[in-house]
């Protein structure tokens, strides 16, 4: 419908006459404005009172206040960081940033893995295979019944039971990956600027692929025949990065972990703390996601299955192309709250020594004595992450919502 056609329902309808505001209690408009002013006034005065009172109390008790500590040299050790950190020169602000990054590192990967595992288990519960259905049902029932904190401690203890670094080194079987109580050690590509450029080329290829598949879809809609996508996609994804890499000298050097002194040096590490936290969060949250997926699938009317079968589609194809897309609509809103849960539950990290934002903010507030500021930082971080997840999921939900015709 174009914009300049009037809504047929309004044609000929009587439009309420415009009235001006009367300063009288009997005028509903006036009343509503007064009430809104009163409510805003009350909220603002309560907030002002609380802030003022807090400041008075803190001053009276001679407790340091303000966010000045953010610039102060931190001096607190941090075990695991995605950015450069030296306690002797970097600030509390940077330490807190590391905490945020560590929280995101576990939350983002956790959400992706929990979704994959949860979906598989949810589908498994509806399987016609008796064993699969029973096993997945058992998984869901047990995992949801054990408190997450216990599960995290369990996984952490299990990981501590792994051989020591020395034993792992001596028993070296496959040469480059080591599993010890110091974590998982893997060989790592020595990163050069060239690799960054190649990555950029790959991203460009990804974008090209997306454009190409849009074009294919349009052609399919117009002519019914879909041009082949995959050869083009493959070309776009492989050729540019390889060309860039070759053109810039094709550096390729692998850093292998080796036992030196107390510990492995070189290579990349997945720490037992991170791994235990990720494992615990994914396994726990997947139990809930599985139930959401199962109920989502069951919410799709049986007629859809029957109709698809009548078209001659096979079971897997029906599930993937007919049922799951429809189930998705039911699944997204409760899924959002699971994602939020996973993110918030990641604060249990402190129990097993993973330094997320709560852990680092806690240490900060303990070392600086600025408890209120520390808690404010924690709340602001979780609020921001949670709101971002919610906004994204709401957008996605609206995007895939059934357009009623």
């Amino acid at each position: 419908m174009s914009d300049n056609t009037a809504d047929p329902r309004l044609i000929g309808a009587r439009v309420a006459p415009k009235r001006s505001l009367r300063f009288s209690w009997s005028d509903p408009l006036f009343r509503s404005i007064v009430w809104q002013i009163v409510i805003v006034g009350v909220v603002v005065s309560i907030a002002w009172y609380l802030i003022h009172n807090t400041n008075e109390n803190l001053t009276a008790r001679r407790i340091a206040t303000g966010f000045g500590f953010l610039d102060r040299v931190a001096g607190i050790p941090i075990g695991e960081s995605m950015i450069d950190y030296n306690p002797a020169e970097h600030s509390y602000g940077r330490a807190l940033l590391i905490g945020v990054l560590n929280t995101l590192k576990v939350a983002v990967i956790g959400v992706v893995l929990a979704t994959i595992l949860g979906t598989l288990i949810g589908i498994g519960r509806l399987s016609k295979n008796w064993l699969v259905a029973q096993l997945t049902a058992f998984y869901v029932e047990t995992i949801r019944d054990i408190p997450l904190l216990l599960q995290l401690l369990f996984w952490y203890t299990v990981l501590q039971g792994l051989p020591t670094a020395r034993q792992a080194w001596d028993r070296n079987v496959n040469g480059s990956v080591f599993l010890s109580n110091r974590g998982i050690k893997v060989p790592l590509l020595v990163w050069e600027p060239v690799h960054g450029w190649a990555l950029l080329a790959f991203t460009a290829g990804l974008f090209g692929t997306w454009l190409w598949s849009r074009r294919s879809r349009r052609i399919q809609a117009e002519t019914g025949a879909r041009p082949a996508t995959w050869p083009v996609a493959l070309g776009l994804l492989i050729v540019p990065p390889v060309v860039v890499w070759l053109a810039l000298g094709a550096p390729f050097q692998i850093d292998y972990p080796a036992l030196r002194g107390f510990n492995f040096q070189g290579g990349g590490t997945v720490s037992p703390e991170y791994f235990a936290l990720l494992l615990g969060l994914v396994i726990y949250t997947a139990g809930y996601i599985a139930e959401i997926v199962r109920s989502g699938i069951q919410a799709v009317p049986n007629g859809q299955w029957e109709a698809a079968r009548a078209l001659g589609l096979r079971h897997g194809a029906i599930l993937r192309q007919v049922v799951l897309p429809q189930a998705l609509r039911v699944v997204i809103p409760p899924m959002t709250s699971q994602y939020l849960n996973l993110t918030k539950n990641s604060s249990l990290a402190v129990a097993i020594g993973y330094q997320d934002i709560v852990s680092i903010a806690n240490t900060t507030l303990n070392q600086t004595g600025q408890a209120i500021e520390g808690i404010a930082v924690i709340m602001a971080v979780y609020l921001t992450i949670s709101l971002s997840i919610s906004l994204f999921m709401n957008w996605y939900n609206a995007h895939i919502a059934l357009v009623e015709r």
Partner: protein, 346 residues
């Protein structure tokens, strides 16, 4: 979930937001100390301890809290309320101890806390006395072959977050141009099991706690070595809130009374025989003469109660620390080459 670690901070925030609680003015009839008055009305002294460290505060098999820190709480209770049974031990962690005291959840803190300028300057709290002169040490496995702290370049070290220990280790490594990986776990038993399982090469905290932890391992103690290096000064003290100076006096002088009693040879078992003493110091201490109790807002028999019910400082040490095989060292009386020196009680 966040509450799991920050309950103390939350209580503090609630108190600061809603409390009208400026430092209460001295009331006319009361003792002049809001905290002392509160313990009397309550009939209980709330003392923040760890409850997890052998030799300092750990419940025995009967559930009775034992240790130097616990007895320090008892001593103040005997002085303030006349009866050690009126103490209530409130478990605190290294992370929530300060907020617990700031928010008024406890009346005093006696949990191996290091006296530093930052803590007195920023927290609105102050140290009344030192009940243990300590330093940061390292505990390692014998099998590691490490015999000195300087050999630990690249080591992974288990340490509790929010402690002065983590700062001391940082300084030590920085000074010696070495690197370490910290493993920071808040819960003490989780941290210790991480060390025992080999997740860390060393466990670091106050040397006293390392020694008593090693001792508590029984036959397995022989597998653990306490390195000779002490890398920092950690005077462990008793803390109170700023702004209640009278209460500060009570806590500080209770401790000094115990040291004085040791200096004078007055113990829990012989204190009654001193009631006829002619030594003016002892007569003032036991409240037979003078009015030191009144100056503190306490009963004249306050120090007698402390000595009778808890003992002098040496007794407290012998009861709690000696069995763990830790020598008295610098914690001895000044007359025996140590640092404990009681200012005159007059």
């Amino acid at each position: 979930m966040i509450r799991y670690v920050t309950s103390g901070a939350m209580a503090l925030i609630a108190g600061m937001l809603l409390g009208s609680g400026f430092v209460q003015p001295a009331s006319a009839q009361g003792t002049g100390s809001a905290t002392l008055d509160a313990t009397r009305t309550r009939g209980q002294l709330l003392c923040g301890t760890s409850g997890q460290v052998p030799g300092f505060s750990l419940p025995d098999s009967q559930g009775v809290m034992r240790g130097l820190d616990a007895d320090t709480c008892r001593a103040v209770t005997a002085a303030a309320l006349g009866d050690v049974a009126k103490v209530k031990f409130v478990p605190t962690t290294t992370q929530n101890r300060f907020t617990a005291l700031q928010s008024g959840e406890v009346d005093m803190l006696s949990r191996s806390t290091t006296w530093t300028l930052g803590r007195e300057g920023n927290l609105g709290l102050m140290f009344a006395w030192v009940n243990y002169y300590d330093g940061t040490g390292f505990l390692v496995k014998k099998s590691s072959g490490v015999t000195a702290a300087k050999q630990m370049d690249g080591a992974t070290i288990c340490v509790q977050p929010g402690t002065s220990t983590e700062l001391a280790i940082n300084d030590f490594y920085r000074q010696n141009n070495m690197k370490f990986t910290p493993i920071l776990i808040q819960d003490l038993s989780e941290l210790q099991s991480a060390f025992l399982s080999g997740r860390c090469d060393a466990y670091s905290t106050d040397a006293s706690a390392l020694a008593t932890f090693r001792f508590s391992q029984g036959p397995k103690a022989a597998d653990l070595v306490l390195l000779p290096d002490i890398i920092s000064k950690e005077p462990l003290g008793v803390m109170v809130r700023k702004g209640d100076d009278k209460w500060f006096d009570v806590v500080r002088w209770t401790f000094i009374a115990m040291v004085t009693a040791e200096e004078k040879g007055v113990t829990s078992s012989n204190v009654d025989s001193f009631m006829t003493s002619t030594d003016p110091d002892i007569r003032r201490l036991l409240g037979i003469e003078g009015d030191l109790g009144k100056a503190l807002g306490l009963d004249p028999k306050w120090a007698y109660n402390v000595i009778k019910q808890v003992g002098n400082f040496g007794e407290m040490w012998d009861r709690n620390i000696t069995p763990m095989g830790v020598p008295r060292g610098i914690n001895n009386l000044w007359t025996k080459g140590g640092l404990q020196y009681a200012p005159p009680m007059r």
